[in-house]
Symmetry: C2
Subunit: 219 residues, 2 copies
DNA sequence: TTCATGCTTCGGTCGTAATCGAAACATCAC
DNA sequence: GTGATGTTTCGATTACGACCGAAGCATGAA
């Protein structure tokens, strides 16, 4: 039943937890309780439901239980609902700096979204490293390019997850790069210290990192 | 708030109404009450909420009030949730003939989906009438082809709605053709008597219609 | 062992919303 | 006008689920 899934997302506390997990990290029960502003027992109950409904998967590590989104699909569905919430005005607009930063660059599940994510995909297409629109493919030239960045393409291709995937961006209404390659690129960007994950989903670029990023990908 | 939207979809009665509207037709309050198996006052209340939440728009015509999905986005979000419901096993599988028929060809908002919808888009690409993946475009050759089918391309292009749009198919997990052209093609198919809408979202092809369809689009 | 931390289970309270019958309202047909 | 059909409002019932405090369980640290 479709309503079962929607009802799970339809509770404010659970929706807050899910959005907190949109950056792809795994969070503990306590962290999620805080993110949703509810007491621990309440959070525990919600998480049990989300796990039972297969929206989240849990992983035990010592005294902690880490939860993360069970699949990239979940994140995409939530992005889609965000878009609708925006359009129907069911969202608080608050155009603060936080919101602005979210639009510039944020983390969507495990890859980069926002203006900069869309620009990245555009640049990769323009440089001939990727081709195709919805179904993206890495070109021979692209394979070399990504390998130079330290990405093990053979390993990505062996994995179960699609290497490239176009993900619709809710703030830009255009696609950015998802899939295993999207994840690897975000990793590369963070490892080089060009940007760091902030406490929220916002991705903060350093001034020099921004320049290096633009140069590396020929933005 | 994202949870506001999800909660609207999260009630079984409302979810049934929304799925009943997925074929793009506008239905009356009585019809929707029956689709959701609830009494009239109950349905009326739900519909008021859906309208207030901007998921539906109403249109008064005489004694009737017709409701339809407010936007193609809504339909897409619901398809996405269906995919998740399927994956998480929150859906009754029942592999009856009805289900099989749904997978073969059905109506998604106002265009054709299912195996046949996916095959149609493939064929149009292969024949060079359309090009691109996610962002589709009609080729010069395609313009002639669609005009021959009696579709007024100039009119479509003038409209506010995108002419071509790729819509992810939940049963096939591949794209089919949406947008104004997708709608026009479905219309053409129905007008020629190749297929007719059944009581549900299922699209039933006649044997001869099926042959004519395959020939016309070079499947 | 003992203590601290993280999480879950239990039990009870409270709100909210889904539900329907009856009655009111609106529109058309005659 | 009267009657038929379609829809909404009202009122009352009911049920489900969100919530938290307290107590219990599990794991790791000292």
């Amino acid at each position: 039943m479709i309503s079962t899934v929607a009802a799970l997302i339809g509770d404010p506390a659970r929706a807050n937890m899910l959005t907190a997990l949109m950056d792809g990290r795994a969070l503990t029960v306590t962290e999620l309780a805080s993110a949703a502003s509810v007491a621990l027992p309440t959070a525990s109950g919600h998480l049990a439901k989300l796990e039972q409904g297969r929206l989240l998967v849990a992983q035990k590590q010592g005294r902690h239980r880490y939860f993360r989104l069970s699949d990239a699909d979940i994140g995409e569905a939530i992005e889609k609902l965000m878009g609708i919430a925006q359009r129907t005005g069911a969202v608080r607009v608050r155009t603060g700096p936080r919101n602005q930063a979210m639009r510039t660059a944020r983390i969507c599940y495990d890859h980069m979204a926002g203006e900069r994510g869309v620009a990245l995909l555009d640049a990769l297409r323009r440089s001939g490293h990727l081709e195709g629109e919805e179904r993206l493919a890495v070109t021979a030239d692209g394979r070399r390019f990504f390998a130079d960045l330290g990405i093990d393409m053979a390993k990505l291709e062996k994995g179960r997850r699609p290497v490239c995937r176009a993900c619709l961006d809710w703030s830009e209404r255009r696609s950015h790069l998802a899939g295993a390659l999207g994840k690897a690129l975000l990793q590369a960007i963070v490892e080089r210290g060009w940007a760091r994950r902030s406490e929220s989903r916002v991705l903060v670029f350093t001034p020099s990192g921004e320049r290096a990023f633009a140069e590396a990908f020929a933005l």
